[in-house]
């Protein structure tokens, strides 16, 4: 039994890491800019498609028709040869194999640009407008982004294989001195967990220990005063939005081997991430992270047959149920401040 609980806990951490990472970006935007960003799921999706794009570029092929051979349905066979992969010589195959982690290189600048363009182009005009309008305009943007992706990449999921060396499961139990094959867990999921932890830690350190972060935190607390001190807070907020977009994008890239991305993947995460953010308390970074892990772990345990036997269907509603209970007991979520988003 202990091994089952341990595994389920591990799985909860793994799911929680994904939730926390998405909720972190959402909170970053809300906490600094005061904007409720319904396009955050779309940014996650765009990040995932950076990986798709990168892989499609690497695997571009030349097609030649060979009339001497026939396809199974009797037409001349199309012979395909790698094009881009060949440019890199021996490294080509390695690069294709590691395309998902390698695509981080292009994801960071692309997402930064998208984020900054979005903030300068549209979001900044909505700082002083009601939250309902922020929700609506970002929701509209999310629709546009996902429909554009659908128009170019089609409606179906596009699988992104993980590097061959990182497939399969690691025997964690053996590392902890247990017998072999008792606690095994997929390597990529462990990597995703570590990756999330690093990013979350990085964002916290950035805000806590750099001057830039200090100014941003000051701006979060009192924007006007910081402005009066002659600090250009607007520019810093733009960068923060870009940073949030990068965090969302990276979360998307690394998630692709676990779930083949399609245009709709962001919307599926959006509702969930909002529940996480609200449970954590609007605008609270530690709240978002804590709520992410809490909901991940609870969801994992609620899916156990023993629990489902007690309360049928609990695995389908646990997240929402927890959200309702927490909001009724703690009016502003786990770590929410007074007066945020209540009117």
């Amino acid at each position: 039994m202990i091994d089952v609980i341990f595994l389920q806990f591990l799985n909860g951490l793994d799911k929680g890491a994904a939730y926390a990472l998405i909720a972190l970006g959402l909170t970053l935007v809300f906490g600094t800019l005061g904007v409720v960003n319904f396009a955050h799921g779309a940014l996650f999706m765009l990040g995932a498609f950076c990986a798709v794009l990168f892989r499609q570029f690497l695997t571009l092929e030349t097609v030649t028709v060979d009339p001497s051979q026939l396809s199974p349905w009797g037409t001349p066979l199309e012979v395909r040869a790698p094009l881009v992969q060949a440019w890199f010589g021996d490294w080509g195959a390695v690069l294709v194999n590691y395309s998902v982690p390698a695509s981080i290189i292009i994801t960071i600048p692309i997402m930064l640009l998208i984020g900054i363009a979005l903030e300068r182009g549209i979001i900044k005009h909505f700082y002083k407008r009601p939250h309902a309008e922020q929700i609506l305009v970002t929701f509209g943007l999310a629709i546009v982004a996902q429909e554009l992706i659908k128009a170019f990449f089609g409606p179906n999921p596009i699988p992104q294989p993980m590097p061959t060396d990182l497939r399969g499961a690691a025997d964690i139990g053996a590392w902890l001195g247990m017998p072999a094959n008792v606690i095994t867990y997929p390597i990529w999921r462990l990597i995703y967990f570590l990756f999330s932890a690093v990013i979350i830690g990085g964002v916290f350190a950035f805000l806590q220990f750099t001057t830039f972060g200090m100014v941003v935190r000051a701006g979060m607390a009192d924007r006007e005063t910081v402005g009066l001190l002659g600090i250009n807070i607007d520019r810093r907020f733009t960068i923060m939005f870009g940073l949030a977009a990068v965090v969302a994008g990276l979360a998307g890239v690394m998630y692709t081997p676990l779930l083949p991305p399609n245009y709709h993947i962001g919307m599926d995460f959006l509702v969930l991430s909002f529940v996480v953010v609200v449970v954590g308390g609007m605008g609270s970074l530690p709240g978002a992270v804590a709520a992410g892990f809490l909901l991940g772990i609870l969801q994992s345990f609620a899916s156990m047959t023993q629990v489902k036997a007690l309360i049928p269907g609990i695995d389908q509603i646990i997240i929402y149920l927890v959200a309702v209970v927490i909001l009724l007991v703690l009016p502003r979520g786990l770590f929410g401040r007074r007066g945020v988003m209540e009117a």
Binding site: L7, P72, W73, A169, N181, R189, H264, Q299, S303, D315
Partner: protein, 452 residues
């Protein structure tokens, strides 16, 4: 302000633009229908007859929907005497002439059902009421099929189901106006069990993950019955929400549950995800009870196998049809489809194509589009040449009784399409069953309801 004019002028552009489009495209359909000279719904009075294609072009089963659309376009071409004729000369007996249906050219309209029953039904209504569809066909989920065939019964329009695998479609929810060529979950279980016994033995402990809705339940029940009859034990049957995407929380409890076979009652992207993730959890490298751990996917298609890639190798499942069959019908269809689209047809495409042909043939034999006459022509129709061997459209439940294929993920594919191998063709006598087994009531064919 400049924006003051932008709003209305944009709307006006849209309106006039649409009025133009509609004047050219939609209006004729309305006017021809205004003739009211029909004694049944959408009696074609002009020189064309319209099929309503209700296809999931987005959502979990979108890939099947897109393939079905290709097949329908091909079928319409062939019915109109264009292209290479495909399966038209193969159908035996056949009344098809290759000049449309009863001399009328075949046209079609499409609607995206989004893999949702509600939307599918709205789309079917739209195609019947606005576009004058004489017959509705398509769909890639049992929920859609059952919802739409109920509607068609109310409207008096024949529904030729596409890919739908639930026992209920021709069982408790069967309808007089609905017909299914595809096989069902019960037949999957009966067909698959002997192969499983032969490959994995009769002493196995199975763990089911089941999509938590009616199709999943009927398949779980059918497979459970079939495997338990072999002597297998069922450790646990766990229901997962449809579209769960991340199945990891359901996979972890399997690892140390004492089970040595995982049966995935999922379909579409759900199956691709759960199978891939199960393999990532190392399930295929494990040992349990001194045996190699195995995964079984009772219903699998080429499209899903392609999506799952490496993970599907060596895994057993069942299919309605496969393009690698060696009979003349299959080869003709594969050739025709491959030449046009550059890829072999999936089982969804095949069933869609065959359904379109069977409807056209039934109308030709009946000599009229009058639905009760067409229904009578389809009921009890025995035919061959469509790639599934001799086939009977059973009158009692409108289920086609034909061979079922047991397939296995190809260990060494020679091309990206060569993902499944045919292990065995189960003869139709073995998968036939009592039509009364799944209950239901077809309802009457007459009086023919009138649609608006």
């Amino acid at each position: 302000m400049t924006l003051l004019k932008r709003g209305p002028s944009r709307r006006r552009v849209l309106q006039t633009g649409l009025a133009g489009i509609i004047a050219t495209g939609v209006a004729p359909a309305i006017f021809t229908r205004g003739a009211w000279a029909q004694e049944f719904c959408n009696n074609p009075t002009g020189d064309t007859v319209t099929f309503g294609l209700n296809l999931p072009l987005t959502g979990a089963y979108a890939e099947e929907g897109a393939d079905e659309q290709k097949a329908y376009e091909l079928a319409v071409q062939h019915l109109n005497g264009e292209g290479d004729g495909g399966l038209l000369p193969m159908l035996k007996p056949s009344a098809l002439k290759g000049n449309g249906i009863l001399g009328k050219k075949v046209a079609f309209v499409t609607s995206d059902s989004q893999t949702k029953a509600d939307v599918a039904r709205a789309g079917a209504t739209r195609m019947i009421e606005r576009d004058g569809a004489i017959m509705v066909t398509g769909g890639s989920s049992s929920a859609e099929a059952i919802a739409v065939q109920g509607l068609c019964q109310e409207m008096g329009v024949i529904f030729m189901a596409g890919l739908t695998h639930s026992n209920d479609t021709t069982g408790k929810d069967k309808r007089r106006y609905g017909f299914r060529h595809f096989f069902n979950a019960y037949q999957s279980g009966v067909g698959l069990a002997p192969v499983l016994a032969q490959e994995y033995g009769t002493d196995r402990r199975a763990y089911h993950l089941t999509a938590d809705y009616t199709w999943g339940w009927t398949q779980e029940e059918s497979i459970k019955n079939a495997t338990e009859a072999l002597g297998w034990q069922t450790v646990q049957a766990v229901r997962t929400p449809l579209g769960a995407a991340d199945f990891s929380q359901y996979l972890t409890p399997i690892l140390n549950s004492g089970a040595d076979v995982l049966i995935l009652n999922h379909y579409g992207t759900d199956m691709v995800n759960s199978l891939t993730q199960a393999v990532q959890f190392g399930m295929r490298d494990r040992q349990a009870n001194g045996k190699d751990f195995q995964i079984v996917t009772p219903l699998i298609s080429e499209l899903m196998a392609k999506g799952a890639g490496e993970s599907v190798k060596g895994i057993f499942g069942t299919s309605n049809w496969h393009w690698n069959l060696q009979d003349a019908g299959t080869q003709a269809f594969t050739k025709s489809f491959g030449a046009k689209y550059g890829s072999p047809p999936s089982q969804a495409a095949h069933t869609a194509y065959v359904q379109a042909l069977l409807y056209a043939d039934a109308v030709e034999r009946a000599g009229t589009f009058y639905p009760p006459a067409v229904i009578a022509a389809l009921e009890g129709f025995e035919f061959d040449g469509m790639g599934n061997g001799p086939t009977l459209y059973r009158a009692e439940d409108h289920q086609c009784i034909k061979n079922v294929l047991v397939v296995q993920g190809n260990e060494s594919p020679t091309s990206e399409f060569d993902v499944l191998n045919i292990v065995q063709e189960i003869p139709r006598e073995d998968v036939a069953y009592d039509p009364a087994m799944f209950g239901g009531d077809l309802g009457p064919a007459e009086p023919v309801p009138m649609c608006a």
